[in-house]
């Protein structure tokens, strides 16, 4: 299972409970494309524990604006719908994993 793609229509509903990792990305962004497989991999590793999702800022401009995303890749961790962590630039699988584990405790 790879990461699911969220849109404006389902974002709030899908993220309101539990821990969610959201990867804001776009196809024209080199480092985002490097991060893509890593995010999909996390979706597998955290299946049934956390929601691992992607938001294409090209298609979901309003969501990107709502989160004030001005640089991608930006990864935001939400807990019960509230932002608890944010990192900009591709920081590698380990860092994302640490964030998830920290907020799953």
């Amino acid at each position: 299972m790879s990461a699911i793609h969220l849109t404006k229509a389902d974002f709030d509903q899908k993220t309101e409970k539990g821990v969610t990792l959201v990867d804001f990305w776009a196809p024209w962004c080199g480092p985002c494309r490097m991060a893509g497989p890593v995010i999909d991999n996390l979706a597998v590793q955290f299946q049934n524990k956390a929601l691992v999702a992607k938001v294409n800022v090209d298609e979901q401009g309003e969501l990107a604006e709502k989160f004030g995303v001005m640089s991608i890749p930006t990864v935001v961790i939400l807990k019960d719908g509230q932002e608890v962590e944010r990192t900009t630039g591709f920081v590698g699988e380990d860092a994302y994993k640490e964030f998830l584990e920290k907020h799953l405790k």
Partner: protein, 319 residues
């Protein structure tokens, strides 16, 4: 796992080294931190022969496929430790995997340089960015500052001009040191009023308002003021050699921190070869084509080191 050669670094130099090592019949693995290395940040590579315009990511996707087609593998699991015990190298990754080999080719490139000024770190993602390709579209019709004067800065300015209203190129030097093609494309933008050069100038502070970039402070006046209003700051000032892994091995480096190699890409430690932007050779050119060439030479030298004889001439055609 045991290999003839372990290649650390998955950019152009590391991948080319793997391609040549595979064709020499050397078992090898590429262990990288991120896919494609620094070139993945380039929006368009226009000087790689055979292709007069390809994004850095797309170029490296084809190179990566080539590496795998020849039987090698690439894993993304940053190397934490490199040791040499007698004639054997030991590589440990951050997930704890261990690999051994007779020879190592290190091609870990560079780490992006930062300005290290007030406001920079706090405003990353809030107007400060190190990736033009990634973030240019967020600055549609906005005024931005781009710091730097080399290829990445000038090509970045050209790409950025498709979105931004106005680009100020702030550079500490007195003239641009990018490829003339990029310089002339930048100058066209400047004469069309979309770009303006501010040379012999440094940025001393990034100013924010409401937690977003609002301007920069310069170390000398420009148009009568040291403050320059802008909504974005793009930093393209090159990199420092990523030599952390080999420092504990006492490998010789130069004043600028680049690993010293000879024409065979040999470092001062037998069995350890280096290629690409981390070596002192790269001070001549930091290009995909040269990094790949050095990677190929490093593979040939590793062959000689392991087999005790000169690597065969590779003709590349079945006869």
């Amino acid at each position: 796992m045991d290999y003839d050669v372990i290649i650390i670094g998955s950019g152009p130099a590391g991948c080319a080294a793997s391609i040549y090592a595979s064709r020499y019949g050397l078992s090898n693995i590429v262990i990288g931190k991120t896919q494609g290395g620094t070139i993945s940040y380039a929006h368009n590579v226009e000087n790689y022969p055979g292709s007069n315009g390809i994004s850095g990511v797309d170029l490296m996707i084809t190179v990566e496929k080539h590496v795998k087609d020849l039987g090698s593998q690439i894993i993304y699991d940053p190397v934490n430790k490199l040791e040499k015990v007698q004639d054997q190298f030991m590589v440990t990754t951050s997930s704890g995997k261990q690999f051994q080999s007779r020879a190592v080719i290190i091609a870990t490139g560079t780490e992006r340089k930062k300005l290290n000024i007030p406001g920079e770190q706090e405003l990353v993602g809030k107007g400060v960015t190190y990736c033009v390709t990634c973030d240019a579209p967020f600055y549609k019709d906005k005024t931005v500052v781009l710091v730097g004067g080399g290829d990445a800065a000038c090509s970045g300015a050209v790409h950025l001009s498709q979105f931004a209203k106005k680009i100020y190129l702030v550079y500490r030097g007195s003239s641009l040191r990018a490829e003339p093609t990029w310089v002339s494309q930048w100058q066209e933008l400047a004469s069309a009023g979309k770009g303006e050069e501010i040379f012999n100038t440094n940025i001393t502070k990034i100013i924010s308002e409401k937690d977003k970039v609002a301007g920069v402070e310069l170390d000398k006046e420009f148009n009568g003021s040291k403050n320059l209003a802008c909504e974005g700051v793009f930093i393209e000032i090159g990199g420092v050699p990523g030599t952390e892994l080999i420092r504990p091995l006492g490998v010789k480096d130069d004043d600028s921190g680049h690993v010293v190699v000879n024409q065979y890409m040999e470092t001062s430690l037998p069995g350890l070869f280096a290629a690409g932007d981390m070596t002192d050779q790269s001070k001549v050119m930091k290009q995909v084509i040269t990094a790949m060439a050095w990677g190929a030479i490093a593979a040939s030298s590793a062959y000689k080191y392991i087999k005790g004889s000169q690597a065969p001439q590779l003709i590349g055609v079945a006869r």
